[in-house]
Symmetry: C2
Subunit: 476 residues, 2 copies
């Protein structure tokens, strides 16, 4: 069997011509062996067990949207019978129930193949803050894999699996997508159930989806999306069919005075080229002063929200502090000096900053930002474990605090061959609109999927939006 | 001049027949002198100054909804040139600008006549926690005036003014309305700007309106309501014209297993009679288990929200603790032992409790509760300053935590002559629907306004709801 590209349409085409899901599982394990990176997965079913699950699907049923689609799960999300470690061995526990979203994927025909490595307790954007040994970036082992959903992004980047779940508070579902040349869909807060997730910041966090293509990411998002009354933070967010984007969307980009690349001129050029693509597709591009958004971003680690992380590890910090990585302890330990009054002052400050940012966003349909401002090497992180991590969050940290949804999409490779990526951002509930516009972006230029040689296939054009489509606004 | 009943229609009728606003101001000060309660107002303009402001209105303009209407302001809301004390002399400051809502009232033609006494820092439901000497209940000086908006409610109850502003976190805009036989309108959070308010719990608090009648309270609410971008917690909430309520509303009441009167059988009878009135008007009444709502209520003082109060007085507590009443210090001081992690745990717990309560509320249009479960005397409070206060909040404490709006409306007097009062509750944004239904309740029976002998005049019937009226849902 020749290797099948890890996209849903390619796999479904293969199944339609008689390939079995067991054969696809064999490819998954073979490709993992070929990649030979023990840092990607923290636990897996045996190949035989995964093949047995695959063969149990019975005959190909194209009506099930994820029939026979292998998927990986970040190891802060529960999968029945597999330990959930959050990359902290002392924290590990094993349940007999899947997380809500994992159960949704399986019910749609997807096949679980492993739990992936992460920055411990999902605290980091680099992917190297793990006691299990970091995964290597799929594109270039010298650069960081990105985190905190490192293993999930790398697994997709290598074409081991077409789908993987991450989580995203500060950018953990977007930064590693940019670093591995794949798609990272960060849904509206509350759209995907958090039941069965070890939270980082429970009030401003979501499960996210990595895939090779926007279409696949959105297909998985739709399957995962269902209101879960057991998750107190769940919201009933629409996940309609994709339709062609409205013509001439008004898109804000960081203005010259506030755009930040930390010296990476090639990234600046790549972003300018991506914006030109948007313009070429009819978008009305407006430069926006990002200063108020950076002020929001500063709340994430300097403000009270670090106390949310603390609630998760408080017991462990008290009984066995050495079980937690020093850098993680240092970041989360800051919460020990914060009072409840500080927390409310932080909430007030965020409300005020969000109000200050509102006029800036009011007349825009979306924002478009570089997913990451620049690249950092593993060596950079060894020299300074904090600053590169902070800088990587430049365009991601403010997003959940402002209740926006996001989609990180690959753009043509940079001049130096590194992957290009921009992120589209919109207000809560606009996930489908982001995906529709992202489709046109990812179709531009001659692109390969992840770190593979597989070409990108744009697929059929989107149908026009139905005439009765209302603009859905979700307030928060 | 014979005494004019303190309602907007009565005053506007008087103005139409040639009475001047200066004469009305004279009545305000005369009635205050007659009532002879120095605990009601903490500061006032001189009568001459108020009359000068009144006469400056020029000729009667019935198009201005509050033309010539005297109003009082709780002394935690700024009025230009008058000290804002929050009932704490050491905290006092004087600004040259009115609070946003005060400015709206004045712009609509209303005349400011004084700042009213309150439970210090709006912490209390009794009205006796003030170093200035408590106002006396307008109906019966042996019972507590109710708080925290004590002076505002007593001033309206005596017919000194037809309108007064309060604030409401835990019930401060409703409990004193019940105790003084008047209307207390507690708007949807964010509907009225908090600019110029000394907050108690900024995230779950609102300015409220006291009036003799529902129509007057709603008229003032409409004038006050305008989106204020300077208030980070402001929301754009509709304040439409009142229209006849939909027929057969489904109204939940506390079920037999969870209704609480703390031994006041007369209150139980009065509430049953009010519910019968609703039934008689076509309402479908359903008994609801209030246990989940009481669990929400417990969060207000036992949970982290007391830290919001602490943010307001932290400096004073540190520099001059004796400036704060011991009972207030005891309540708010609890925040000193609460961490930021505790605050977020409280937020999680509230979300979970709100989710648990959701099914119970899902099929209801409104709730109807006794505004207070029983009466307490001033002597009761001297014996125990905490328990009676807590019990008074039985049906009010959970409301803002669940983002509901409320309207406390007088019902026919109880068997023992004390005032009857129920509160209608609905989800955010339904303020007009509450007012429309409350109108039909207050029209039942032979009722006098406040502590006066003025009869209640139901006024003209409401027009039918316009055909194009959409149900407006505000999510939060």
């Amino acid at each position: 069997m020749s290797e099948i590209p890890m996209t849903i349409p390619d796999l479904h085409a293969a199944y339609a011509r008689g390939v079995t899901p067991g054969e696809v599982i064999r490819q998954v394990y073979a490709r993992l062996a070929q990649v030979d990176d023990p840092g990607i997965f923290l636990s897996m079913p045996t190949e035989d067990a995964a093949r047995a699950e695959a063969e149990a699907l019975g005959p190909f049923d194209p009506a099930r949207p994820l029939w026979g689609i292998p998927f990986a799960v970040k190891d802060n999300i529960d999968v029945a019978g597999h330990p959930t470690t959050a990359a902290c061995p002392a924290f590990a526990y094993t349940l007999t129930e899947d997380a809500f979203v994992v159960a949704r994927l399986r019910a749609a025909g997807a096949i679980f193949v492993g739990k992936t490595n992460l920055d411990q307790f999902a605290t980091g954007l680099v992917g190297v803050r793990t006691p299990y040994g970091a995964p290597r970036n799929a594109i270039d082992p010298l650069i960081v894999p990105g985190g905190s959903s490192a293993g999930s992004a790398v697994a997709v980047g290598h074409g081991i699996v077409p789908l993987a779940l991450g989580t995203d508070t500060a950018g953990s579902g977007r930064v590693p997508a940019a670093l591995n040349n794949i798609v990272g869909l960060k849904p509206t807060l509350g759209a995907l159930s958090a039941t069965g997730v070890v939270p980082a910041c429970r009030s401003i966090e979501t499960i996210s989806v990595f895939a090779m293509t926007v279409r696949d990411a959105y297909a998985a998002y739709r399957v995962c999306s269902a209101f879960d009354p057991a998750d107190a933070f769940a919201r009933d967010i629409p996940a309609p069919d994709l339709a062609a984007p409205a013509p001439a969307p008004v898109i804000g980009i960081p203005g010259a005075g506030s755009i930040r690349f930390f010296g990476d001129d090639v990234q600046a050029e790549a972003f300018a080229a991506a914006v030109d693509l948007l313009r070429g597709q009819g978008a009305v591009v407006r430069e926006v002063d990002f200063t108020p958004l950076y002020a929001v971003a500063d709340m994430l680690y300097d403000g009270a929200w670090v106390a949310e992380r603390y609630t998760v590890i408080e017991d462990l910090l008290k009984t066995d502090p050495e079980a937690i990585l020093p850098v993680t302890r240092q970041i989360i330990g800051k919460a020990e000096s914060l009072s409840a009054a500080d927390a409310f002052r932080g909430i007030y400050r965020l409300k005020e900053l969000a109000r200050a940012a509102a006029p800036l966003l009011a007349d825009l349909d979306m924002l478009c930002v570089p997913t990451i401002p620049r690249f950092y090497s593993v060596a950079d992180l060894e020299a300074d474990p904090i600053t590169p991590n902070s800088n990587l969050g430049t365009y991601t940290n403010f997003v959940n605090l402002l209740d926006m949804c996001a989609l990180a999409v690959p753009t043509p490779a940079r001049g130096d061959g590194r992957p290009g990526s921009v992120t589209l951002l919109a207000r809560a509930g606009q996930d489908a609109a982001l995906a529709a516009l992202a489709l046109t972006l990812e179709a531009a230029g001659d692109r390969r999927l992840g770190a593979t040689g597989w070409p990108h296939d744009a697929g059929p054009p989107l149908p026009p939006a139905p005439a009765d489509r209302l603009t859905l606004a979700v307030c928060g």
